[in-house]
Symmetry: C3
Subunit: 203 residues, 3 copies
């Protein structure tokens, strides 16, 4: 099993937990929790595969992920109060998923011979879409439009990935540095309440 596969599994676990926590916060029933966990975990990869035409999409060809999501969701339900005790757990798992899925998307773009700027966009979509669809279904403001610099962290990571890739950095080093960069940016931004400028029109 390569580092790439390991990261894919970690990202899936992280997003499944974040989906399950989000659904439990909204008091969804047993089944709703599984659906939200599933959609959050596979959403980004599904959008990525559809956009590049890699069909049947990956979760259809690799059933391990489905069992993984099912198991993780069940554990999340059982240990829900322990997870909650870790206060920021939803935020943390969501951020880990964002970091990992972003680099998977960028790597997929490179392997599909897409231009660098397109690979970065594909990485951002892969990283962000699971959380966006989770929030739309849970009827919350999509995470990319909150003030937490979500997509920005993802794109900064994608740019870092492309630069290291151009410098012929070993791929596993790229994976680790980029993922940690994305997670760090988001943690720092939220801790120090950094915000991007807004530009509204005069009325």
């Amino acid at each position: 099993m390569t580092l790439f596969d390991t990261l894919d599994i970690l990202g899936t676990i992280a997003f499944a937990i974040s989906g399950a926590l989000s659904a439990m916060n909204r008091k969804f029933d047993l089944f709703g929790i599984f659906i939200i966990a599933f959609v959050t975990a596979i959403g980004g990869g599904t959008l990525r595969d559809i956009l590049i035409g890699a069909t049947p999409v990956s979760w259809m060809q690799n059933t391990v992920n489905m069992y993984l999501i099912g198991g993780v969701t069940m554990l999340s339900i059982i240990f829900r109060n322990k997870l909650d005790y870790l206060k920021k757990s939803l935020f943390l798992f969501d951020t880990i998923g964002l970091g990992i899925f972003t680099i998977i998307g960028v790597e997929t773009g490179i392997q599909t011979d897409l231009a660098p700027i397109v690979s970065i966009a594909l990485g951002a979509m892969t990283g962000c879409f699971g959380g966006v669809i989770r929030d739309i279904l849970c009827n919350e403001v999509p995470v990319i439009f909150r003030k937490e610099i979500y997509a920005t962290a993802s794109i900064a990571g994608g740019i870092c990935f492309m630069i290291l890739h151009t410098l012929n950095t070993p791929i596993n080093i790229i994976y680790i540095i980029t993922t940690l960069l994305i997670i760090s940016i988001r943690l720092i931004v939220v801790k120090y309440q950094v915000t991007l400028p807004m530009f509204s029109v005069k009325n």
Copy 2:
């Protein structure tokens, strides 16, 4: 014409009616009614085709469905008060569509050589997505997150389909049993107000 084709037409009619009724309930204009009816009727099949890569998607290759949806929507508008008189008509047509489109999705998964668990998921998506997109566009809580055990009925039907399929049951018998099972589960659940357990986190 096979039983499969007949069911496809019946499912399309059922979802087109449910979409038209939903749009009229929200006082959409003439055109909005047609759009919602169309999207509800083709939504599930379109998602199914995109996920497995069967493009151009099926409604693009079979114009009969488009004329059918147009005709059914017109009849729904003309007879709207008669349909309303049947009180639960929106619920009924939606449930029929769910039952039929679920088995079409499962069957498609089997024909595409997908794993059983993936075929069941594809069936649930095919069955549920039309109703979900209808509810999102009509700005209502998506049907799968109401307390009526919508996706659960669909997945129970998918599991039944796979078991009967493994037992070499004749395909037409599988279609009929599975469709009736899904419809029955949903009717019974709503009649007796069965609900799934909820797991919310302590605050």
Copy 3:
């Protein structure tokens, strides 16, 4: 560069501006403005490509559009108050994008050998989807469900396109007539407040 390519660029510019204005109206941050502009400009074409199976979708193969959207969005931010001074600018740019993207969708349908009615539907989806996804992300009522006859204008244009096509009208003439027709219909409809009949059910 053909008239088709020129129109594609004009449509992309128009929708990018409409997306940027919409995001600034909602006081999104710098990054949110870019995302909404991007999604509005590529949404229709992406849906079109996914439905017909033309993957990787077009914006992934033509990076010019990405730089174009970035540049236009930056200019929209800088000149935001000038654009606002033109009052109806959001409405205008959205209408221009609708007109142009509709004919691109219809033309794509014809080139993919789809039936006329399907090509018209594909044109309407290509034209409308960017605005719909912009409105959903900005949490506004999707433009096709407001009383401004949005999709209707698009479909009327698609029908006109097919008639002229059958009459062997030179393609560039078709492009111009059809685009102007769609824009005119929408402008006239809003100016004279034409509305379609509604059919609600008695309670």
